[in-house]
Symmetry: D2
Subunit: 356 residues, 4 copies
């Protein structure tokens, strides 16, 4: 009810602050009998760690995960899985100057308004470090999806105004931005370097695809599959827009253009993005999310302090230039959790596709 | 859990099929002592009724609402409010031919895959008539919002590829499309007429604004205000994308451009769209949704029947050319329910007095 | 959240006041493909109707149920089932004198304290008429249970201080109290007649049994099967205590006496009442509930009005002498809903095949 | 949904197994600004630790709690509070012999049936050690209650068949059984010693009282205050029955005896146990729970192994003779969580007693 849990049957509850002793997640509803090791989770956590010097922050967290419950002799037991990651590279001194200042583009002002207090160190609960718990839970969700042959991929469609012109899958892992277009990747690198020198930051657009999703997942009316996906993705701090299939372009199509005809072999195209009436069609699920630029920049900005006096600030801490590509792993995790949840829900509520 | 309820503290549960005996909604969690009459609700229902010949369908439903519980001597009592609307203008014969055919762009195929059965008449539960319950609940939510001086407005930014070039509020009610630009409205009318003659349909983009929202609404981490709004809006059948504030444009801005500076008098601009870190800032909340074209078109389309044999179809029933402007009232209703819910949640979870 | 819904996957939401236009329930989460007619529901509603002159009230409600949604061509579709019962024999004049008086043993005082207002007519939402919705939902739950061969029975162990000394199943339907002991039933009849003449009322104890429940239902830790059953039963207005298996007697046993030994053919006795560690064992589930006497009595009582002035009252309306046997049907309904819910939950959360 | 969370607005999620690395709880929904230290929690944890040689087990856990999140500079922030207790005195060798045997009166059989696997060491998740998380959450709940002047007390009414004949509050802390009657306490001591020597165990009845509860807490219809209390208490492993106010005795009273008359100064007696129609009256809330004997006994018992072959066993590990008095602290914790939850719910849903 206070917003720190997500999912109905496969349910994660995250906790922890950027500069507190630790971060973690409790996963309730994971079925028994699934092989699970800390390596399975560590592998996903490593994907969201800073690594690429040009884009990412120099805060070095090893993010070692510890499984505290729910796994017995290498397999899940059906009881809650508690995962713990200690904060290690914590240096809160740099944040002392922000104790009573609302940094632009951050949640400082709104947390203060809502709670009348806040842990100002590193953004506290509003820090992107909170996503450690999401990615850990996503790793568990992916184990469930793998069992049913669902696979999630992501790539960066746009970064700092530069857009990929083609999708070549083998390129994605070859550049630090996860860009599927080699030339666009080169231009992105140049753009990021430039912005970094200016002390500014950039946003972009990423695309997520789900392959192998069976038809029948999703609950009408309010828990449509795209509605839960939109909520999950919009709950990531930097995300400002979500679209499915043709998305905002659908607004410019006619019905004849937008409808996906069917033939005996299935859908002839996929402008629906794999979901009709809130339920998966069996085609790939295709989503795009808009990511805003990192709000912490070195450039001078105007803002106010707790007394609402104007101050001019420069943020010199350890910060990424773009949330991309680290946020890609977080988006994947949220999609994984939504799909694992709806797989379990489908088992409970339908007697057709997945017979007991 | 099966997706027919929405909201945590202010919670609506809708029920009913397009061609069943009735549609309705149960609202649980409405505070006591709020004046409420069937006229309050009827007024909102009338806003989603077909009316404009060029855009809307000739199915004529009076949609008379009956309050069955939760109101005593003109005021809410704190107990559940049950609202009923009988289906009157039901003619299911036209749907007999679709009993075993999956209409493109509809939920026919996916409901059949999920449930192994479906009420094929008028789309059954997946029909836009389901939104009668949402709009009725939105009417009650608006009574709560009005008490706190929140106000929701909407206009059509784009229809059939034609975009409003200016926002003149007084224009909105002067044309059938709720377009805030007189010239664009004229072009929209021409476009809609043209498409109608072709037997096709169009989509568009609408913008929703919330004025008077206090700072402090929204729950981190997963129930961020924009996350709940995105879910609510994406749960409307025709919506394919949602963005907040600068939205997808934020992906092309730098941090210096995107951050909203503050001065002693408040935020100097509002690219955040009134929400930071998932919590309202006190500025206007600004959302845009992409609406796909109505899938029921007169033009010939290829699809399959229940035996997966290819068939060619033409849909000649009573159908709108665009979900806009009827869907605008539904979007408003969803936003109203989300805000009423978070107002109540804020009362429960915060001990700090909300500043206005 | 406001307490008018019950169940996680099989979820009912009841609404309606004693003297409002109607009462009803929305059931969300019923699987598709289950044959369901209004007769199925009517049959159960008839079991809670007043009928036995000596025990029950002369208010004559036919309680005709109308299925408004969720059923298509005689079978459930997986969408919400809305059930409506109009209040017909409503005469609110008798309640005018209680508009500003708190009747002892009723919820008048507490509703006024909680909400600052209340529908005083017939107890409004706190009336036992609210259980119409529960019994209707229980009828649907029983259709699910029947498919899995679960069966619920009930009998009256004690009424007005008279206790059944033996359990003879064939006696239960032969007397108006559902007493399984012919001699005790005769004594109960005498006792009820006596109390009725005095203008007083009596309570009793009823026992509910579930036969055919497979092992494996129930969720540790907080949603133990007996915990959800206790909540469901305690949520019935007149219930003041619930026990499972040996119940309060277990407090006086030693471990050697209380533990149920197992042999190759199963449990050798059933003091656990069919549940261990919150999960069903496969033995019969055995529950007992304490029912307080009807608070509306003709005898003079002291109480206060809204101004907290003392008044002396006599309640002369149409009232039962005991909630038994009508409440038995309500208890059965609650047990049915809890079991249907946990059957669906078990499908979702376990990958192990339930042995029978 | 999988039953490891409890509470709606003040919500705890417990995790951990008896012989796993740690146990803990995440509390979501605690309001900001409440002073909270690990000492506050430790104090309550110490109340459930084994201590009294005659009744309790020699497993010595220090149960040191660590606050991992949600507290900043000594006060809660409104974000989730994660509490961790490491298991230290773990010796799993003794449990190796039970790996494939279902101990009578334990959850061994039902967990195996439900999940097809289980952590057999010390009962795994079904161990009473799970209540560490409950008691820790209860400590936080009590801080909220204290702010509103609510106070919870408990005493042992009955142990091993010996019943307290009088309630002398000052006696409760003077004997190891929390018995309010000095002579009964002496008889209990004798009884416990005797049973211990026999290698058997005993149960009892405890009474919980809540003082200072305002009128107006509780939600009709299904979330009646006594319904949530019954669920919370019944979810404790050893509890087999719950009653409120006159409880099972109410079944033997007439309406005239059972109803609590009111005068200008309030209720004249309290057979309702402080709750009418599911909502608190302002009188003390009075509950009693039946506690079964500890199932782990040294006496020989018949049971079966995983192959359903009969075996005869003697359980020689470290076990309490009675769950009383350690379970008393757990009962108090559950009552505290229910009340804290309903205090927050009342703030959200009512406009009367607790104005914004």
């Amino acid at each position: 009810m206070s917003g720190n849990s997500f999912g109905a049957l496969f349910r994660m509850t995250t906790w922890g602050e950027s500069h507190g002793p630790a971060l973690g997640v409790v996963i309730d509803g994971c079925p028994p009998g699934i092989p699970l090791s800390s390596e399975d989770i560590q592998k996903e956590l490593d994907r969201r760690r800073p690594g690429v010097a040009t884009v990412s922050s120099p805060r070095q967290e090893r993010d070692r995960v510890e499984i505290l419950s729910g796994v017995f002799e290498g397999k899940t037991t059906g009881t809650p899985i508690s995962l713990l990651v200690r904060n290690e590279d914590v240096d809160s001194r740099a944040y002392e100057e922000w104790r009573e200042i609302f940094r632009p583009g951050h949640a400082d002002f709104t947390y203060q308004m809502k709670y009348g207090t806040r842990d100002h160190r590193g953004g506290g609960r509003a820090s992107a470090r909170e996503t450690v718990g999401r990615v850990a839970a996503g790793a568990v969700a992916k184990k469930i999806l793998a069992r049913e042959n669902l696979k999630i991929t992501n790539h960066t469609l746009e970064l700092g105004g530069i857009r990929a012109q083609r999708i070549e899958e083998e390129e994605i892992e070859r550049n630090p931005f996860r860009c599927p277009d080699r030339e666009a990747a080169a231009a992105m690198e140049k753009r990021v370097q430039e912005v970094k020198e200016q002390g500014d930051s950039v946003g972009g657009i990423i695309e997520i695809r789900v392959q192998g999703c069976p038809a029948g997942l999703g609950e009408p009316v309010f828990d449509k599959l795209e509605a839960d996906l939109a909520k999950g993705l919009m709950s990531i701090g930097a995300v400002r827009g979500v679209e499915i299939g043709a998305g905002f372009n659908a607004a410019r199509m006619t019905g004849a253009e937008c409808n996906d005809p069917m033939s005996a072999t299935g859908f002839e195209k996929n402008d629906a993005g794999g979901i009709l009436g809130g339920i998966s069609t069996g085609s790939d699920i295709v989503l795009r999310v808009a990511v805003k630029p990192i709000p912490s920049i070195r450039l001078e900005q105007n803002t106010v302090n707790h007394s609402f006096q104007q101050v001019s600030i420069q943020i010199k801490g350890r910060h990424d230039v773009s949330a991309i590509p680290r946020i890609n792993a977080v988006c994947e995790a949220m999609v994984a959790v939504v799909l694992a949840d709806h797989l379990l829900r489908q088992k409970a509520t339908s007697s057709y596709i997945l017979p007991r």
